[in-house]
Symmetry: C2
Subunit: 273 residues, 2 copies
DNA sequence: GAGCGCCGAATGGTCGGACCACTCTGTCGT
DNA sequence: ACGACAGAGTGGTCCGACCATTCGGCGCTC
């Protein structure tokens, strides 16, 4: 804590946030541990429960705290994935120019990440990646056949909400999973979390829809297969090149889509300014 | 009250968050615009004002909304910098292994960013970068000059300038500014915001302090100068190489520092597990 | 008529209390 | 010994009141 402003009037809620952060930073409560009840904390810090709740809400959305109804408030594991969950908002809200910037960043990150994955991925990782690749192929081919009802919504590791949409989203989801599995196999959780934040389901769906229209899905498939081959061959350079080509292709498509659909069908809000 | 017996029991507050997000995504309210008052929104969405306030608080900490006391609640410009402000929490809270991961990500990003900057920076950018470089030299040069050996100036801290935090923080701040100016001159605001989030003043200060002890500040200076030269020469390849070397050097130092200070002076919280 | 200062409405910030929904635990009944 | 149940504890929601700040307009002064 730098300094306690002598005469500054900081909102009560924010002070509560700082205090709680200090409790964590100071080791008073560690990752996974439970803090006092809202009521106790409110008394302890001398604020009302409402304000304390807002403070907790703030830290909850930051991924630092986790509130379990009926149980208590807990400090998260403070893993990068916890703290970077908010990141996805960027990819969700972004439009036009910013979306392009996001892709530029991915163009910097993904090649390096993929190369690293080629060097580090173990057999289990490769198997998972291969499975996702096949699933992508499959769900894309039969996408006109309508969405199969019950099916198996569970994939074992899917804490995320499943969107009950048809093939496009399935393909997009598999695509997302494919890339996430790759960055995850770098062994760098921070990198994985950032990579996840830079992708978004909705954007991916848009890409796949666009590509289908343009009849370019095949190119994406080939990209994916080349990436997969490079990973299996444990060839970082090839992996880097394949990833670069892939991101570049998406970027190129987005650029064209933005230029063309400017104010057209795609809900691209024109900032005007 | 009319419940939704459909089955899904989503917390009221979260529903409010979604609704507001939808209002923004749907263009009902644009960046910079003001939305209805808390009271009106609460009535409009059928929730209490408390819950609405928590929803607003959540979106505020995400950088999507901005509340001005007495005035109203406004949508931010939705610039990447707004949405990625939360990002810094990672760099703040991270320790040990995660810090290393963060540096690995920077090792992927900064070289590419610096190369891009070499191609895109205009005269004004270069001037700013150069100024920061000089400022860094100036505030740091006097430390190394005096005691190259183990003779630490611990004993009598001479009253140094007016700097409240002394030269270390100044140097660290200038270092931070130096790199941020570089990524900013790529013209990619998203990249700049991410780069900013991956750095942290406290970490930088630690690096500089550590480097001074190890007597390696000179190496960092040389790195910076090489980067600067490459930028001025508009040589992307040289810039990429220089940035790589630089980040790698910091990473190497951190790795050594972590290995050595494991359980020692550095407050590295042991998760136990 | 122009400029300035003050007041009050509008709005976010804080508070305290009440009740609901959920979780956990210890006890009771079988 | 095991399972169902009831109670206490905790987060989630709602309500109504009041405080602090902002901003616009009214009236005063010059």
């Amino acid at each position: 804590m730098p300094h306690d402003p002598g005469g500054e009037r900081t909102p009560v809620t924010q002070r509560a946030v700082e205090r709680i952060k200090a409790m964590i930073a100071g080791g008073e409560v560690g990752p996974g541990e439970r803090l006092p009840t809202e009521r106790d904390l409110a008394v302890q810090l001398g604020v009302s429960r409402s304000s304390m709740r807002e403070a907790i809400r703030a830290l909850t959305t930051l991924g630092v705290l986790e509130a379990r109804h009926g149980a208590g408030v807990y400090v998260t594991a403070l893993r990068p994935a916890d703290l970077l969950e908010t990141f996805s908002v960027l990819a969700e809200v972004s439009q036009g120019q910013t979306l392009l910037e996001v892709l530029q960043v991915r163009r910097m990150l993904e090649p390096a990440a993929t190369a690293l994955a080629a060097a580090r991925a173990d057999a289990r990782d490769l198997e998972r990646i291969g499975a996702l690749l096949e699933r992508m192929d499959g769900s894309d081919a039969m996408d006109c056949a309508g969405a199969p009802g019950g099916a198996a919504p569970e994939g074992g590791t899917r804490p995320r909400r499943e969107s009950p949409d048809g093939g496009v989203l399935d393909t997009a989801g598999a695509d997302l999973g494919f890339h996430q599995a790759i960055v995850a196999s770098t062994g760098n959780a921070t990198l994985a979390a950032i990579g996840e934040g830079l992708s978004s389901r909705t954007f991916n769906a848009r890409v796949w829809a666009g590509h289908r229209e343009a009849g370019l899905s095949a190119a994406l498939h080939e990209d994916h297969e080349r990436i997969h081959e490079a990973l299996v061959a444990r060839d970082p350079d090839a992996a880097r090149a394949a990833a670069t080509v892939h991101v570049l292709r998406v970027e190129r498509w987005l650029r064209a889509d933005l230029a063309q659909g400017d104010g057209a069908g795609t809900r691209t809000r024109a900032p005007g300014r």
